[in-house]
Protein backbone atom coordinates (compact mmCIF):
# COMPACT_ATOMS: atom_id res chain seq x y z
CA UNK A 1 0.00 0.00 0.00
CA UNK A 2 1.29 3.39 -0.94
CA UNK A 3 2.27 5.79 1.80
CA UNK A 4 1.50 9.34 0.76
CA UNK A 5 2.34 11.35 3.86
CA UNK A 6 6.07 10.69 4.02
CA UNK A 7 8.20 13.84 3.83
CA UNK A 8 5.20 16.14 3.79
CA UNK A 9 6.47 18.36 6.63
CA UNK A 10 9.89 18.86 5.04
CA UNK A 11 8.29 19.68 1.72
CA UNK A 12 5.91 22.13 3.38
CA UNK A 13 8.80 23.92 5.11
CA UNK A 14 10.79 24.21 1.87
CA UNK A 15 7.66 25.50 0.13
CA UNK A 16 7.04 28.12 2.80
CA UNK A 17 10.62 29.34 2.46
CA UNK A 18 10.38 29.44 -1.35
CA UNK A 19 7.08 31.34 -1.27
CA UNK A 20 8.58 33.80 1.21
CA UNK A 21 11.64 34.41 -0.95
CA UNK A 22 9.46 34.78 -4.04
CA UNK A 23 7.21 37.33 -2.35
CA UNK A 24 10.22 39.28 -1.12
CA UNK A 25 11.73 39.34 -4.59
CA UNK A 26 8.45 40.37 -6.23
CA UNK A 27 7.92 43.36 -3.95
CA UNK A 28 11.46 44.41 -3.01
CA UNK A 29 13.86 43.24 -5.71
CA UNK A 30 12.07 43.23 -9.09
CA UNK A 31 11.98 46.67 -10.75
CA UNK A 32 8.71 48.41 -11.58
CA UNK A 33 7.60 47.91 -15.16
CA UNK A 34 8.17 51.01 -17.28
CA UNK A 35 4.70 51.30 -18.79
CA UNK A 36 2.49 49.07 -16.64
CA UNK A 37 3.79 50.08 -13.25
CA UNK A 38 2.82 48.18 -10.13
CA UNK A 39 0.05 46.14 -11.79
CA UNK A 40 2.63 44.24 -13.77
CA UNK A 41 3.59 42.41 -10.57
CA UNK A 42 0.51 40.19 -11.00
CA UNK A 43 2.55 38.61 -13.78
CA UNK A 44 4.62 36.82 -11.12
CA UNK A 45 1.44 35.20 -9.83
CA UNK A 46 -0.57 34.75 -13.02
CA UNK A 47 1.98 33.11 -15.30
CA UNK A 48 3.37 30.59 -12.74
CA UNK A 49 -0.22 29.71 -11.77
CA UNK A 50 -1.10 29.05 -15.40
CA UNK A 51 2.03 27.05 -16.23
CA UNK A 52 1.78 24.94 -13.07
CA UNK A 53 -1.95 24.28 -13.64
CA UNK A 54 -1.30 23.18 -17.23
CA UNK A 55 1.64 21.02 -16.20
CA UNK A 56 -0.64 19.48 -13.57
CA UNK A 57 -3.24 18.63 -16.22
CA UNK A 58 -0.65 16.99 -18.46
CA UNK A 59 0.90 15.15 -15.50
CA UNK A 60 -2.56 13.90 -14.54
CA UNK A 61 -2.85 12.44 -18.04
CA UNK A 62 0.43 10.59 -17.59
CA UNK A 63 -0.73 9.31 -14.18
CA UNK A 64 -4.01 8.21 -15.75
CA UNK A 65 -2.07 6.28 -18.38
CA UNK A 66 0.00 4.65 -15.64
CA UNK A 67 -3.21 3.67 -13.87
CA UNK A 68 -4.62 2.10 -17.02
CA UNK A 69 -1.40 0.21 -17.67
CA UNK A 70 -0.73 -1.00 -14.15
CA UNK A 71 -4.25 -1.22 -12.71
CA UNK A 72 -2.92 0.29 -9.48
CA UNK A 73 -5.66 2.52 -8.09
CA UNK A 74 -3.09 4.73 -6.30
CA UNK A 75 -2.26 6.23 -9.72
CA UNK A 76 -5.91 7.00 -10.26
CA UNK A 77 -6.01 8.82 -6.92
CA UNK A 78 -2.88 10.78 -7.86
CA UNK A 79 -4.38 11.72 -11.22
CA UNK A 80 -7.67 12.75 -9.63
CA UNK A 81 -5.98 14.95 -7.03
CA UNK A 82 -3.76 16.57 -9.68
CA UNK A 83 -6.79 17.45 -11.83
CA UNK A 84 -8.68 18.69 -8.78
CA UNK A 85 -5.86 21.04 -7.76
CA UNK A 86 -5.19 22.23 -11.30
CA UNK A 87 -8.87 23.09 -11.72
CA UNK A 88 -8.77 25.15 -8.54
CA UNK A 89 -5.59 26.88 -9.73
CA UNK A 90 -7.38 27.41 -13.05
CA UNK A 91 -9.96 29.63 -11.36
CA UNK A 92 -7.06 31.69 -10.04
CA UNK A 93 -5.53 31.90 -13.52
CA UNK A 94 -8.76 33.18 -15.06
CA UNK A 95 -9.36 35.71 -12.28
CA UNK A 96 -5.79 37.07 -12.22
CA UNK A 97 -5.76 37.09 -16.04
CA UNK A 98 -8.96 39.14 -16.10
CA UNK A 99 -7.61 41.59 -13.52
CA UNK A 100 -4.40 42.02 -15.45
CA UNK A 101 -6.26 42.45 -18.73
CA UNK A 102 -8.48 45.08 -17.13
CA UNK A 103 -5.48 46.94 -15.73
CA UNK A 104 -3.34 46.95 -18.85
CA UNK A 105 -5.89 46.93 -21.72
CA UNK A 106 -8.99 48.30 -20.03
CA UNK A 107 -11.15 45.20 -20.61
CA UNK A 108 -11.90 42.30 -18.29
CA UNK A 109 -11.73 39.84 -21.12
CA UNK A 110 -9.68 40.09 -24.31
CA UNK A 111 -10.43 37.53 -27.00
CA UNK A 112 -7.33 38.42 -28.96
CA UNK A 113 -5.10 37.08 -26.21
CA UNK A 114 -4.92 33.46 -27.38
CA UNK A 115 -3.33 32.01 -24.26
CA UNK A 116 -6.17 33.20 -22.06
CA UNK A 117 -8.81 31.92 -24.49
CA UNK A 118 -7.12 28.54 -24.85
CA UNK A 119 -6.90 28.29 -21.09
CA UNK A 120 -10.62 28.96 -20.76
CA UNK A 121 -11.40 26.09 -23.15
CA UNK A 122 -9.14 23.73 -21.22
CA UNK A 123 -10.75 24.85 -17.97
CA UNK A 124 -14.25 24.21 -19.34
CA UNK A 125 -13.22 20.71 -20.36
CA UNK A 126 -11.70 19.82 -17.00
CA UNK A 127 -14.68 21.26 -15.15
CA UNK A 128 -16.61 18.24 -16.47
CA UNK A 129 -14.19 15.78 -14.86
CA UNK A 130 -15.87 15.66 -11.40
CA UNK A 131 -19.25 15.36 -13.09
CA UNK A 132 -18.07 12.38 -15.12
CA UNK A 133 -16.22 10.77 -12.26
CA UNK A 134 -18.90 10.97 -9.61
CA UNK A 135 -21.77 9.96 -11.84
CA UNK A 136 -20.20 6.51 -12.23
CA UNK A 137 -20.96 4.34 -9.24
CA UNK A 138 -18.83 1.24 -9.63
CA UNK A 139 -15.43 2.18 -8.08
CA UNK A 140 -13.25 0.21 -10.49
CA UNK A 141 -15.05 1.53 -13.52
CA UNK A 142 -15.05 5.04 -12.07
CA UNK A 143 -11.27 5.02 -11.83
CA UNK A 144 -10.84 3.58 -15.32
CA UNK A 145 -13.19 6.02 -17.02
CA UNK A 146 -11.67 8.95 -15.14
CA UNK A 147 -8.21 7.85 -16.27
CA UNK A 148 -9.33 7.58 -19.90
CA UNK A 149 -10.65 11.12 -19.59
CA UNK A 150 -7.37 12.26 -18.02
CA UNK A 151 -5.35 10.77 -20.89
CA UNK A 152 -7.55 12.18 -23.64
CA UNK A 153 -7.79 15.62 -22.04
CA UNK A 154 -4.08 15.68 -21.25
CA UNK A 155 -3.28 15.11 -24.92
CA UNK A 156 -5.86 17.73 -25.86
CA UNK A 157 -4.19 20.50 -23.82
CA UNK A 158 -1.14 21.12 -26.07
CA UNK A 159 -3.20 20.65 -29.24
CA UNK A 160 -5.71 23.22 -28.09
CA UNK A 161 -3.01 25.76 -27.29
CA UNK A 162 -1.32 25.22 -30.64
CA UNK A 163 -4.50 25.71 -32.63
CA UNK A 164 -5.93 28.67 -30.73
CA UNK A 165 -2.56 30.42 -30.86
CA UNK A 166 -2.21 29.95 -34.60
CA UNK A 167 -5.81 31.02 -35.16
CA UNK A 168 -5.08 34.33 -33.51
CA UNK A 169 -1.70 34.86 -35.09
CA UNK A 170 -3.30 34.63 -38.52
CA UNK A 171 -5.55 37.58 -37.83
CA UNK A 172 -3.94 39.50 -34.98
CA UNK A 173 -0.35 40.51 -34.43
CA UNK A 174 1.10 39.15 -31.22
CA UNK A 175 0.69 42.28 -29.11
CA UNK A 176 1.98 40.78 -26.01
CA UNK A 177 5.01 38.70 -25.19
CA UNK A 178 6.25 39.32 -21.69
CA UNK A 179 7.99 36.01 -21.33
CA UNK A 180 10.21 36.70 -24.29
CA UNK A 181 13.79 37.81 -24.41
CA UNK A 182 12.95 41.44 -23.68
CA UNK A 183 12.80 40.93 -19.94
CA UNK A 184 15.47 42.48 -17.73
CA UNK A 185 17.58 40.15 -15.63
CA UNK A 186 16.02 41.04 -12.28
CA UNK A 187 12.52 40.39 -13.61
CA UNK A 188 13.57 37.09 -15.13
CA UNK A 189 15.17 35.97 -11.86
CA UNK A 190 12.08 36.95 -9.89
CA UNK A 191 9.87 35.14 -12.36
CA UNK A 192 11.94 31.96 -12.16
CA UNK A 193 11.89 32.00 -8.34
CA UNK A 194 8.11 32.57 -8.38
CA UNK A 195 7.80 29.67 -10.79
CA UNK A 196 9.74 27.35 -8.48
CA UNK A 197 7.74 28.53 -5.46
CA UNK A 198 4.46 27.88 -7.26
CA UNK A 199 5.57 24.42 -8.37
CA UNK A 200 6.57 23.58 -4.81
CA UNK A 201 3.27 24.90 -3.51
CA UNK A 202 1.42 22.70 -5.97
CA UNK A 203 3.48 19.66 -4.97
CA UNK A 204 2.81 20.29 -1.27
CA UNK A 205 -0.93 20.72 -1.75
CA UNK A 206 -1.01 17.65 -3.96
CA UNK A 207 0.75 15.55 -1.36
CA UNK A 208 -1.44 16.94 1.40
CA UNK A 209 -4.66 16.18 -0.40
CA UNK A 210 -3.41 12.73 -1.37
CA UNK A 211 -2.61 11.98 2.27
CA UNK A 212 -5.96 13.30 3.45
CA UNK A 213 -7.95 11.41 0.79
CA UNK A 214 -6.01 8.23 1.46
CA UNK A 215 -6.47 8.54 5.23
CA UNK A 216 -10.21 9.16 5.01
CA UNK A 217 -10.45 6.22 2.61
CA UNK A 218 -8.72 3.96 5.08
CA UNK A 219 -10.80 5.28 7.94
CA UNK A 220 -13.98 4.51 6.04
CA UNK A 221 -12.76 1.00 5.32
CA UNK A 222 -11.86 0.35 8.94
CA UNK A 223 -15.15 1.76 10.17
CA UNK A 224 -17.08 -0.47 7.80
CA UNK A 225 -15.12 -3.45 9.03
CA UNK A 226 -15.78 -2.50 12.65
CA UNK A 227 -19.49 -2.20 11.93
CA UNK A 228 -19.56 -5.59 10.29
CA UNK A 229 -17.75 -7.01 13.26
CA UNK A 230 -20.19 -5.47 15.72
CA UNK A 231 -23.15 -6.81 13.77
CA UNK A 232 -21.87 -10.38 13.58
CA UNK A 233 -21.83 -12.09 17.01
CA UNK A 234 -19.79 -15.05 15.81
CA UNK A 235 -16.78 -12.99 14.81
CA UNK A 236 -14.16 -12.84 17.58
CA UNK A 237 -13.55 -9.40 19.01
CA UNK A 238 -10.14 -8.10 20.00
CA UNK A 239 -11.47 -7.36 23.49
CA UNK A 240 -12.40 -10.87 24.61
CA UNK A 241 -14.39 -14.03 23.87
CA UNK A 242 -12.07 -14.85 21.00
CA UNK A 243 -12.70 -18.58 21.31
CA UNK A 244 -16.24 -18.15 20.02
CA UNK A 245 -14.90 -17.81 16.50
CA UNK A 246 -13.39 -21.27 16.41
CA UNK A 247 -16.59 -22.82 15.09
CA UNK A 248 -16.39 -20.81 11.86
CA UNK A 249 -12.89 -19.54 11.36
CA UNK A 250 -13.81 -19.03 7.74
CA UNK A 251 -14.21 -16.27 5.23
CA UNK A 252 -15.54 -13.29 7.21
CA UNK A 253 -12.83 -13.38 9.88
CA UNK A 254 -9.97 -13.87 7.50
CA UNK A 255 -9.32 -10.16 7.38
CA UNK A 256 -9.66 -9.96 11.16
CA UNK A 257 -6.25 -11.52 11.57
CA UNK A 258 -4.66 -8.74 9.56
CA UNK A 259 -6.50 -6.14 11.57
CA UNK A 260 -4.38 -6.08 14.70
CA UNK A 261 -5.34 -2.77 16.23
CA UNK A 262 -2.69 -1.66 18.69
CA UNK A 263 -5.24 -0.19 21.10
CA UNK A 264 -7.47 -3.23 21.29
CA UNK A 265 -11.25 -2.99 21.02
CA UNK A 266 -13.14 0.20 20.41
Amino acid sequence: MAVFGRGLVTLALITAAAVGIALGMVFLYAPLDADQGFVQKIFYLHVPLALVALAGFVAAGVMGALHLRSGDSAWDLRSYVAIHLSTILGVGVLVTGAIWARASWGHWWVWSEPTLVAFLIVFLLYAVYPMLRFSIEDPGRQGRYASVFAVAAGAFVPLNFAIVRSAESLTHPQVFSTTGSGMPGEMLATFLVSMVAMALLYATLWKLELTAKHASDQLRRLRRRAERRAADPLVPRPGGGASAGSSRAGAPTLSGAAYAAPRGGD
Partner: protein
Protein backbone atom coordinates in the same frame (compact mmCIF):
# COMPACT_ATOMS: atom_id res chain seq x y z
CA UNK B 1 -11.23 -6.59 -36.41
CA UNK B 2 -12.41 -5.19 -39.73
CA UNK B 3 -15.12 -7.83 -40.02
CA UNK B 4 -16.34 -7.29 -36.48
CA UNK B 5 -16.39 -3.52 -36.94
CA UNK B 6 -18.29 -3.85 -40.20
CA UNK B 7 -20.78 -6.21 -38.58
CA UNK B 8 -21.47 -3.76 -35.75
CA UNK B 9 -21.67 -0.89 -38.22
CA UNK B 10 -24.16 -2.81 -40.37
CA UNK B 11 -26.22 -3.52 -37.25
CA UNK B 12 -26.21 0.17 -36.28
CA UNK B 13 -27.18 1.38 -39.73
CA UNK B 14 -29.91 -1.24 -39.94
CA UNK B 15 -31.30 -0.22 -36.55
CA UNK B 16 -31.16 3.42 -37.62
CA UNK B 17 -32.92 2.66 -40.92
CA UNK B 18 -35.72 0.82 -39.14
CA UNK B 19 -36.23 2.99 -36.06
CA UNK B 20 -35.25 6.35 -37.62
CA UNK B 21 -34.22 7.65 -34.23
CA UNK B 22 -31.12 9.79 -34.73
CA UNK B 23 -30.67 11.09 -38.27
CA UNK B 24 -34.14 12.59 -38.88
CA UNK B 25 -34.00 14.23 -35.47
CA UNK B 26 -30.54 15.66 -36.19
CA UNK B 27 -31.59 16.96 -39.61
CA UNK B 28 -34.79 18.49 -38.30
CA UNK B 29 -32.90 20.02 -35.39
CA UNK B 30 -30.34 21.64 -37.68
CA UNK B 31 -33.05 23.22 -39.83
CA UNK B 32 -34.80 24.52 -36.70
CA UNK B 33 -31.54 26.02 -35.41
CA UNK B 34 -31.03 27.78 -38.75
CA UNK B 35 -34.51 29.29 -38.45
CA UNK B 36 -33.69 30.35 -34.91
CA UNK B 37 -30.50 32.01 -36.12
CA UNK B 38 -32.47 33.96 -38.70
CA UNK B 39 -34.67 35.46 -36.00
CA UNK B 40 -31.96 35.78 -33.36
CA UNK B 41 -29.64 37.68 -35.71
CA UNK B 42 -32.51 39.41 -37.50
CA UNK B 43 -30.72 39.00 -40.83
CA UNK B 44 -32.09 37.67 -44.10
CA UNK B 45 -28.76 36.71 -45.59
CA UNK B 46 -25.35 36.07 -44.14
CA UNK B 47 -21.86 36.00 -45.57
CA UNK B 48 -18.25 35.68 -44.51
CA UNK B 49 -17.43 34.97 -40.89
CA UNK B 50 -21.03 35.15 -39.70
CA UNK B 51 -22.26 32.66 -42.29
CA UNK B 52 -19.48 30.22 -41.56
CA UNK B 53 -20.02 30.53 -37.81
CA UNK B 54 -23.76 29.95 -38.07
CA UNK B 55 -23.30 26.90 -40.28
CA UNK B 56 -20.71 25.29 -38.00
CA UNK B 57 -22.51 25.97 -34.75
CA UNK B 58 -25.63 24.43 -36.26
CA UNK B 59 -23.75 21.34 -37.41
CA UNK B 60 -21.96 20.94 -34.07
CA UNK B 61 -25.21 21.15 -32.13
CA UNK B 62 -26.78 18.58 -34.44
CA UNK B 63 -23.75 16.35 -33.88
CA UNK B 64 -24.32 16.61 -30.12
CA UNK B 65 -27.71 14.93 -30.58
CA UNK B 66 -26.13 12.08 -32.49
CA UNK B 67 -23.39 11.62 -29.89
CA UNK B 68 -25.95 11.41 -27.10
CA UNK B 69 -27.83 8.60 -28.84
CA UNK B 70 -24.81 6.69 -30.12
CA UNK B 71 -24.80 3.92 -27.53
CA UNK B 72 -28.56 3.97 -26.94
CA UNK B 73 -29.29 0.56 -28.44
CA UNK B 74 -26.39 -1.07 -26.61
CA UNK B 75 -27.55 0.36 -23.32
CA UNK B 76 -31.29 -0.09 -23.55
CA UNK B 77 -31.40 -3.46 -25.27
CA UNK B 78 -28.36 -5.03 -23.61
CA UNK B 79 -26.36 -5.13 -26.82
CA UNK B 80 -23.12 -4.38 -25.00
CA UNK B 81 -23.22 -7.74 -23.19
CA UNK B 82 -23.39 -9.50 -26.50
CA UNK B 83 -20.48 -7.53 -27.89
CA UNK B 84 -18.39 -8.12 -24.76
CA UNK B 85 -19.08 -11.86 -24.88
CA UNK B 86 -17.92 -12.09 -28.48
CA UNK B 87 -14.19 -12.82 -28.96
CA UNK B 88 -13.45 -9.62 -30.86
CA UNK B 89 -11.14 -6.67 -30.42
CA UNK B 90 -12.93 -4.02 -28.33
CA UNK B 91 -11.58 -1.28 -30.57
CA UNK B 92 -13.90 -2.63 -33.26
CA UNK B 93 -16.77 -1.11 -31.29
CA UNK B 94 -15.17 2.31 -31.43
CA UNK B 95 -14.44 1.98 -35.15
CA UNK B 96 -18.03 0.96 -35.86
CA UNK B 97 -19.51 3.74 -33.73
CA UNK B 98 -17.25 6.38 -35.27
CA UNK B 99 -18.16 5.22 -38.77
CA UNK B 100 -21.86 5.23 -37.89
CA UNK B 101 -21.59 8.77 -36.52
CA UNK B 102 -19.66 9.79 -39.63
CA UNK B 103 -22.46 8.44 -41.81
CA UNK B 104 -25.10 10.28 -39.75
CA UNK B 105 -23.15 13.53 -39.99
CA UNK B 106 -22.78 13.24 -43.77
CA UNK B 107 -26.53 12.63 -44.19
CA UNK B 108 -27.37 15.55 -41.92
CA UNK B 109 -25.03 17.82 -43.87
CA UNK B 110 -26.53 16.76 -47.18
CA UNK B 111 -29.81 18.12 -45.80
CA UNK B 112 -28.56 21.06 -43.73
CA UNK B 113 -26.09 22.67 -46.15
CA UNK B 114 -28.58 23.15 -49.03
CA UNK B 115 -31.19 24.39 -46.55
CA UNK B 116 -28.61 26.81 -45.17
CA UNK B 117 -27.73 28.00 -48.67
CA UNK B 118 -31.40 28.62 -49.50
CA UNK B 119 -32.47 30.18 -46.23
CA UNK B 120 -29.50 32.21 -45.06
CA UNK B 121 -26.43 32.21 -47.27
CA UNK B 122 -25.94 35.43 -49.24
CA UNK B 123 -23.29 34.51 -51.82
CA UNK B 124 -23.76 31.66 -54.26
CA UNK B 125 -23.01 28.22 -52.81
CA UNK B 126 -21.69 26.65 -56.02
CA UNK B 127 -18.23 28.28 -56.24
CA UNK B 128 -17.66 27.56 -52.55
CA UNK B 129 -18.77 23.96 -52.79
CA UNK B 130 -15.47 22.11 -53.47
CA UNK B 131 -13.69 23.80 -50.58
CA UNK B 132 -16.72 23.39 -48.34
CA UNK B 133 -17.02 19.68 -49.08
CA UNK B 134 -13.33 19.13 -48.32
CA UNK B 135 -13.69 21.01 -45.01
CA UNK B 136 -16.86 19.13 -44.09
CA UNK B 137 -15.34 15.72 -44.80
CA UNK B 138 -12.17 16.37 -42.79
CA UNK B 139 -14.05 17.96 -39.91
CA UNK B 140 -16.57 15.09 -39.88
CA UNK B 141 -13.81 12.53 -39.43
CA UNK B 142 -12.52 14.42 -36.39
CA UNK B 143 -16.00 14.96 -34.97
CA UNK B 144 -16.87 11.30 -35.43
CA UNK B 145 -13.66 10.17 -33.70
CA UNK B 146 -14.21 12.49 -30.74
CA UNK B 147 -17.93 11.77 -30.63
CA UNK B 148 -17.53 8.00 -30.45
CA UNK B 149 -14.92 8.30 -27.69
CA UNK B 150 -17.00 10.75 -25.67
CA UNK B 151 -20.18 8.71 -26.10
CA UNK B 152 -18.40 5.64 -24.75
CA UNK B 153 -16.93 7.65 -21.85
CA UNK B 154 -20.33 8.98 -20.87
CA UNK B 155 -22.22 5.72 -21.47
CA UNK B 156 -21.69 4.46 -17.92
CA UNK B 157 -22.47 7.67 -16.10
CA UNK B 158 -25.86 8.50 -14.65
CA UNK B 159 -26.24 11.81 -16.49
CA UNK B 160 -25.22 10.38 -19.88
CA UNK B 161 -26.45 12.97 -22.36
CA UNK B 162 -25.33 15.87 -20.18
CA UNK B 163 -21.83 14.54 -19.64
CA UNK B 164 -21.48 13.60 -23.31
CA UNK B 165 -22.49 17.10 -24.40
CA UNK B 166 -20.27 18.88 -21.90
CA UNK B 167 -17.29 16.72 -22.86
CA UNK B 168 -17.90 16.92 -26.59
CA UNK B 169 -18.20 20.68 -27.02
CA UNK B 170 -14.88 21.82 -25.44
CA UNK B 171 -13.06 18.98 -27.18
CA UNK B 172 -14.31 20.06 -30.61
CA UNK B 173 -13.42 23.73 -30.15
CA UNK B 174 -10.14 23.32 -32.10
CA UNK B 175 -12.04 21.63 -34.93
CA UNK B 176 -14.60 24.43 -34.87
CA UNK B 177 -11.84 27.06 -34.96
CA UNK B 178 -10.19 25.43 -37.97
CA UNK B 179 -13.43 24.64 -39.81
CA UNK B 180 -14.91 28.12 -39.45
CA UNK B 181 -11.62 29.70 -40.45
CA UNK B 182 -11.40 27.47 -43.52
CA UNK B 183 -15.02 28.16 -44.54
CA UNK B 184 -14.97 31.91 -43.93
CA UNK B 185 -13.14 32.99 -47.13
CA UNK B 186 -15.34 30.61 -49.16
CA UNK B 187 -18.47 32.40 -47.98
CA UNK B 188 -16.91 35.83 -48.41
CA UNK B 189 -17.05 35.39 -52.17
CA UNK B 190 -13.28 35.57 -52.44
CA UNK B 191 -11.69 33.33 -55.01
CA UNK B 192 -8.28 33.50 -53.39
CA UNK B 193 -8.82 31.18 -50.49
CA UNK B 194 -5.49 31.71 -48.86
CA UNK B 195 -5.10 29.89 -45.60
CA UNK B 196 -7.85 27.35 -46.30
CA UNK B 197 -5.29 24.68 -47.16
CA UNK B 198 -3.48 25.29 -43.92
CA UNK B 199 -6.69 24.89 -41.92
CA UNK B 200 -7.48 21.68 -43.74
CA UNK B 201 -4.13 20.32 -42.62
CA UNK B 202 -5.05 21.30 -39.06
CA UNK B 203 -8.36 19.47 -39.35
CA UNK B 204 -6.60 16.38 -40.66
CA UNK B 205 -4.08 16.51 -37.81
CA UNK B 206 -6.89 16.92 -35.29
CA UNK B 207 -8.72 13.91 -36.71
CA UNK B 208 -5.55 11.84 -36.74
CA UNK B 209 -4.73 12.71 -33.13
CA UNK B 210 -8.14 11.69 -31.86
CA UNK B 211 -8.20 8.51 -33.94
CA UNK B 212 -4.86 7.46 -32.46
CA UNK B 213 -5.89 8.51 -28.96
CA UNK B 214 -9.18 6.64 -29.13
CA UNK B 215 -7.57 3.48 -30.47
CA UNK B 216 -5.05 3.73 -27.63
CA UNK B 217 -7.50 4.09 -24.76
CA UNK B 218 -10.77 2.54 -25.93
CA UNK B 219 -9.90 -0.95 -24.73
CA UNK B 220 -10.04 0.22 -21.13
CA UNK B 221 -13.58 1.55 -21.42
CA UNK B 222 -15.18 -1.79 -22.20
CA UNK B 223 -13.06 -3.89 -19.89
CA UNK B 224 -15.32 -5.83 -17.53
Amino acid sequence: MTRAALAILRKDLLVERRTRESVPAMALFSVTVLVLFHFALDRDSLDGALASGVLWVTLLLAAVLGVGRLFASEREEGGMDGILLAPIDRTAVWVAKALALLAYLVVVEVVAVPVFAVLLLGPDLMPALPGLVATLVLADVGLAAVGALVAALAAESRARELVATLLFLPLVVPAAVAATAATEPLFAGAQTADGTGRWLIFLAAYALLFVLLSVGVFDYLLED
